[in-house]
């Protein structure tokens, strides 16, 4: 059952045109083919999941989208601009943010500072201005701080605002990582296994936050996740990869009943 249907009186959000498309992407590390001719698109405001067994190329796909890996073939179209390969700084400045499977936080810094760091690209004043904290730099900082506080409020982490991230339990660190990505006010948010290593309650919380981000900010979300239940509940459409190839693409129900997917997950007799 889709989580949205549980809520009384909600309507389906307006899913728009494709904002992001990958076409014929192939990626190899030496002789190892991580991705072979993968194409799919992501529509505005939707939650798009990429699933697949271990080593199917899911994380590689995300890394191609935000420019960490350079594919040998294929194109990436983001908001009407087509790139043979994405550069990380271009991805970030055009509005693609991501969270990481293994977390990318400054452990010694507070939650507040970590999330503030996520706004780095949006700071207009240079280092000197910021260090002096006068006039326009101060006004700007207040504005950034306000946005960060809104995210803290949104993710319900007020009680650890000033706690160094390294001292937080894992589930909360994941939430801070999401906050850091949100601070960049992304159009598209890439989530790499947002629920890995969480207990049931933490997973429910995280699902709630992902849905809320999607609803409240209208952020388009691409997520990789192992927990099938979560994926089927959250996503509008699902891409299934296996050995670097796309084997299915469609709504959770379509994907669930696809023979190729069942074979990939349960194995087939050869």
């Amino acid at each position: 059952m889709n989580l949205r249907e549980l809520e009384p009186g909600t309507v389906q959000r307006k899913v728009g045109e494709a904002v992001l498309a990958v076409e014929g992407v192939s990626l190899a590390f030496g002789g190892v083919k991580a991705l072979t001719d993968v194409s799919f698109d992501v529509r505005e405001h939707e939650i798009r999941a990429i699933i697949g067994p271990n080593g199917a190329g899911k994380s590689s796909m995300l890394n191609v989208i935000n420019g960490v890996y350079r594919p040998q073939q294929g194109r990436i179209t983001f908001m009407g601009e087509t790139h043979d390969r994405m550069e990380p700084h271009v991805a970030a400045s055009r509005g693609i943010a991501r969270t990481f499977q293994g977390l990318a936080l400054f452990k010694g810094m507070s939650v507040l500072d970590n999330i503030l760091a996520g706004r780095n690209l949006m700071m207009r004043r240079n280092l000197l201005w910021q260090a002096l904290r006068v006039g326009p730099a101060l006004r700007e900082e207040i504005e950034h701080r306000k946005r960060v506080e809104e995210i803290i409020d949104f993710l319900e982490i007020q009680h650890v605002r000033k706690t160094p991230v390294g001292r937080l339990p894992y589930g909360l660190q994941k939430r801070v990582d999401l906050g850091r990505a949100l601070a960049a006010e992304p159009r598209v948010l890439l989530l790499d296994e947002p629920m890995a290593g969480m207990n049931v309650e933490e997973k429910q919380d995280m699902s709630r936050f992902i849905l809320d981000v999607n609803d409240e900010f209208g952020t388009t979300i691409v997520l990789i996740e192992h927990d099938m239940g979560v994926v089927m509940d959250l996503s509008d459409r699902v891409v299934v990869l296996d050995y670097g190839r796309k084997i299915a693409d469609g709504t959770p129900d379509e994907v669930r009943s696809s023979q190729a997917v069942i074979d990939a997950y349960l194995g087939v007799k050869h």
Binding site: E7, G9, T10, V11, E156, Q158, H159, R161
Partner: protein, 650 residues
Amino acid sequence: MTVQAGMTDTFPKLLLEHAAVRGERPAIREKDLGIWQSWTWREMRDEVEWLACGLAQAGLARGDHIAVIGSNRPRLYWTICAAQALGAIPVPFYEDAAAQEMVYVFQDAAIAFAVVEDQEQADKLLEILPQCPRLKRIWYDDPRGLRNYTREELVAYEKLREAGRAAAAAQPRLFAGEIAKGVGSDTAIMMYTSGTTGHPKGVVLSHDNLVSSGRAYAELERLRDEEEVLAYLPMAWIGQNLFSYAQWMVVGFRINCPESGDTTMTDMREIGPTYYFAPPRVLEALLTQVTIRMEDASWLKRRLFRYFMDLARRVGARLLDGKPVAARERLLYFLGELLVYGPLKNALGMTRIRVAYTAGEAIGPDLFVFYRSLGINLKQLYGSTETSVMVCVQPDGEVKPDTVGPPMKGVEVRVLDSGEIVLRCPGLFRAYYNNESATRDAKDPEGWFHTGDAGFFDDTGHLKIIDRAKDVGKLSGGTLFAPKYLENKLKFFPYIKEAVAFGHGRPEATAMVNIDVEAVGDWAERRGIPYSGYADLASKPQVRELVRECVEKVNADLSRDPHLCASQIHRFVVLHKELDADDGELTRTRKVRRGFIGEKYATIVDALYSGADRCVVEAQVRFEDGRVGAIRAELAVDGARTYAAEALAA
């Protein structure tokens, strides 16, 4: 004390008075986005006016009930005041109540309107909407997550405020006119008592009730309009309503709403309340935290802490009461204030406290003395929803850990032969809503209210409460058995969170114990004992041994009192799950429902008395999302050493 003629007799009139007299002073603050936002009395008057006009326009009429559901938020306080301005009756709900628990109240009070805090509460009301056909409008404060809801019953608070603002501009006399129609004998609020059995009962309290109670406290403690108060307890609890609403309105001080439940400690430190109210469980949780943090401290700090806390226990409370103390100890206590007490009070946010109260249930004497010995003027009081918390209070200088003080001015208290306490006071409720028979049972024709509590006056005229009258039982040997007394003694240990004692009609007393997962978890980590979760931790033999030590200390203590010596705990079980209000094991105010627990865990009770050393228990648990699951566990039953009365006396 009755409200004198000419004195302001309703809360909305008090609001107008404050807006005129101290209009530019802050009335209420809320921490939002990391900053304390504040509203002055004048701003608040305007907000309440707009809200009242909006509610009137929506059809809220004199005598109607309106539900208020959520944590402490300025807008919910304004809703209460706005409803009162129109002569309507606010009905606050516990924010953690399950949807189905709310149905009865909505039906009973024929509630058509509700103002709720957020999506969580709105979802609950939408769920029960089919059962509550009268409910036609739900206003929500926080729009988060509600953007895509299409139900027409749901409207944003913001819209109500804007509509009200326009209505107020069109009819500038409406607000003041409606307020002027109100009199002190009107119903001010209806609070449902959690009730250990049957349906909750709506306690109808008038403005006179609450204002006279508020005035009595203000006079007694010489409260001023500079007091800072933290509004952090459930709004549906009479204690919270009296301290953060009635007294606030009577005196005109400031209330401060914390950012969220989890930040209360930090927020309290920032505010530094001067007047503080906390039920024993909050004080207990704070002490547990202090104890844990002290164990982490360096060797020197631990030594200092122990030395000065010993000193404080000897002389601290005496100093507070103004009793004579030797010069040397005075000097040492002063040193302790610099080195330990001061910094500790600062960490707790209690530096500025002038008066602190505790109530709600009996407080363990050691816990009580701990705070007093630090120089915090913590006092006990006694009251209930039905009495507007206006019965007994300990006056300065006459504070004893085991009594609740003498009756307040204007309150008559008697103890019946059965041990039950009956009383008459100006704060006494008018009736139970729609429930004449219950009203008749509780209030006799001469106006005496039967509290259901058992107790007696000690030789200094202080009332001592021992237990609920119906819970006080007898061991099969015929000696008195007050289960609450044993439970409180157990709960004082930081390792024990909750305890349930049995013994009525039995040859000896036994107990079920809930460990405090934080304190015991910390204890286990220090000893390198691995555990996976609550149930696992609770079943560790070392943990059971730890609990046994606590039980035996209680037994040693009991053996010193000739009346209670027979109540020593012979056997106990460490429960595998936390007792929870969602499973019906605790009331919403977190009191144990002993009878219910006795039935639900009958197999454990049998094992406690059969001499078996293990028992299997299957329990239903209700998860936070409302689903129901079962936990099956095998529990060990342990025995504890008991002491003969003579052995210790010798």
